[in-house]
């Protein structure tokens, strides 16, 4: 599919010549590093306390105290940051009148959507790859179980994909990038709050459905090291659904 490749290459180029990627990536990496630092120092302080109380060496579980907290905090950081990355994707095309050009080029709407999604996903994966410096550095000085760290990264990868798809959808409905960003904030926050509603409804069928719809529970499983097909299906289907909706919106804009 050469047209999709062309779209991906062009989008990546646009990202890296604009300051967005550097600002968003910088904030993301800084937050990741700073949170990791806080949890590590906090864990260290706890270890010293334990040693003083028990004497000798204390067994500190880095997986529980550092990584689980770190991954749990990162979903909020992603919620704040990823809409900034996606807001321009389609809104800018409309604003700058290049939308009509794309729509009259011999390329399908699905190819445009997929190309744009892949490009922003690659940017995000690049950012995520850089954060692996934290566990790699920690591995030099301590022992921890790599398995839940890897599933945590899988969780971030899936969660990020879903957030980006929501953002791409939000960007398809407007030509204003600020509106696009806030629409995705709103949608993601709502999706988050569904978890609260779910626990309020408790173990009823309605409660289970609502909890399933929120991304929280599925992410927690992965962070704890559980790979469940149900959670993978949730993210993949959620991402595909949002991309499909973006496709419908873009296609329908011809009929207005």
């Amino acid at each position: 599919m050469p047209p999709v490749q062309a779209i991906i290459a062009k989008e990546l180029r646009s990202y890296f010549v604009s300051p967005i990627v550097y600002v968003v990536g910088g904030v993301f990496l800084l937050t990741f590093g700073f949170l990791a630092y806080l949890y590590i120092v906090f864990t260290g302080a706890q270890a010293i306390q334990l040693m003083q109380m028990q004497g000798g060496t204390a067994q500190i579980n880095l997986n529980d105290l550092v990584f689980r907290n770190l991954f749990a905090s990162m979903r909020f950081v992603l919620l704040l940051i990823l809409p900034i990355l996606t807001m321009r994707l389609l809104a800018e095309e409309r604003k700058l009148r290049t939308f009509e050009f794309l729509m009259t080029a011999p390329i399908r709407v699905s190819e445009i959507i997929v190309g744009k999604f892949i490009s922003v996903y690659l940017v995000f994966l690049g950012m995520l790859l850089l954060t692996t410096l934290v566990p790699l550095t920690l591995a030099l000085f301590s022992d921890f179980d790599w398995y839940p760290v890897l599933t945590g990264y899988l969780g971030l990868t899936l969660l990020g994909g879903f957030f980006l798809a929501v953002g791409l959808f939000a960007s398809s409905i407007t030509e204003n990038q600020i509106v696009a960003a806030f629409t995705s904030f709103g949608l993601l926050l709502m999706c988050w709050l569904l978890a609260g509603l779910g626990s309020l409804l408790g173990d009823t069928p309605a409660g289970q459905v609502v909890s399933y719809l929120s991304f929280m529970e599925h992410y927690d499983h992965l962070v704890r090291g559980l790979i469940d097909t149900k959670d993978l299906v949730y993210y993949v289907s959620g991402t595909v659904l949002m991309l499909f909706l973006a496709h419908r919106i873009v296609d329908a804009s011809r009929w207005k």
């Binding site: 047209p3 062309a6 604009s18 009148r97 009259t104 011999p106 009929w255 207005k256």
Partner: protein, 322 residues
């Protein structure tokens, strides 16, 4: 090459175009002339398969614009009103991107790029960011984008808007050079443009086609009499009646300039000599005399203004409308 049959486009209650029908043959350049909001862009968007028509059919190179958009899009080069350029790319990057979107690769793409750069004299800005280019260059990049795949059909929405006079002439020359091998539709509200580059003119107003012909025939058809504008140094008060004495004169009209009158006679007659002799004989001080031919501009105004908007005399001279 292009066949439009009774297309209508409604946006809710608003009818943007109403039963528009026209044809463009292979190698022909057609001007789509009309005031802003007449429905030019809507028609072009339907032809490029960007929007569907509410009723009627449009065919480009034998393919239906509504049912076979992929085939239609492959055969069209389209320049929308605003050149669709990405500011953050260089000219070469942008045109490569367009070429790849159109499925071109490798040597074919590089050759096409060089050819189109040469044709639009973009060589000097090849590596410049589009954001830093002037309006004229951007417009040319937009045209290059429409031409890169050498499509049989070109649809250009106001291609010379925002250009300086020299650039306008260059672009017109380019469009003329495309005639013969390409079918071109260009929309414009600048009348000399239609006369300069097109073999046929379609005048559209309020969503309807009001006239369709060659530029010459359009003006001939609407001209009902020959007119001469006469400027005198010392015209008498009753000048309109005095000129009636000249044989052949049918009407004498005053203009906004009290020293100038407009004399009409039957089509095909030349009474300039008689008028001059008469004016000199009366010692009115003949300063200037020239034939007034109906320009496409008059035709256009006449066709696109509604009856009630027209000045009382439908024969008002062109000179007065400026």
């Amino acid at each position: 090459m292009i066949e439009v049959c009774n297309i209508t486009k409604r946006y809710g209650h608003l009818t943007a175009i109403d039963r528009v029908t026209f044809r463009v043959e292979k190698g022909e350049v057609l001007a789509f002339l009309g005031p802003n909001g007449a429905g030019k862009t809507t028609t072009m968007r339907i032809l490029t398969s960007f929007i569907p028509a509410t009723e009627g059919t449009a065919h480009v190179a034998g393919f239906d614009c509504a049912d076979q958009p992929d085939e239609v899009k492959k055969r069209i080069g389209y320049l929308p009103e605003t050149p669709p350029v990405y500011q953050e790319l260089t000219v070469a990057e942008y045109l490569m991107f367009v070429g790849k979107l159109r499925g071109m690769t490798g040597a074919g793409l590089t050759q096409a790029l060089d050819r189109v750069m040469e044709r639009l004299s973009l060589g000097s800005v090849r590596q410049r960011l589009i954001a830093n280019l002037s309006r004229g260059y951007r417009q040319r990049v937009g045209l290059a984008q429409a031409l890169i795949h050498d499509p049989p059909v070109l649809i250009l929405d106001e291609p010379t808007v925002g250009l300086d006079p020299k650039q306008i002439i260059e672009i017109r020359e380019l469009i003329k050079s495309l005639a013969g091998s390409h079918s071109v539709i260009l929309s414009t509200h600048i009348l000399p443009e239609a006369t300069a580059v097109c073999q046929r003119v379609v005048i559209i107003n309020g969503g309807r086609i009001v006239a369709e012909d060659t530029p010459d025939q359009l003006s001939a058809r609407l001209r009902k009499s020959e007119k001469i504008s006469v400027t005198l140094k010392a015209p008498p008060a009753n000048i309109t009646e005095r000129f009636r004495d000249v044989p052949g004169v049918e009407h004498v009209l005053t203009t906004s300039d009290p020293q100038t009158v407009l004399i009409e006679c039957a089509l095909g007659k030349d009474i300039r000599e008689d008028v001059a002799r008469f004016a000199v004989g009366q010692n009115w001080g003949l300063l200037e005399m020239k034939p007034v031919s109906m320009t496409l501009e008059d035709v256009f105004l006449k066709l696109t203004q509604r009856e009630d908007e027209l000045p009382k005399s439908s024969e008002t001279p062109a000179g007065e409308r400026h």
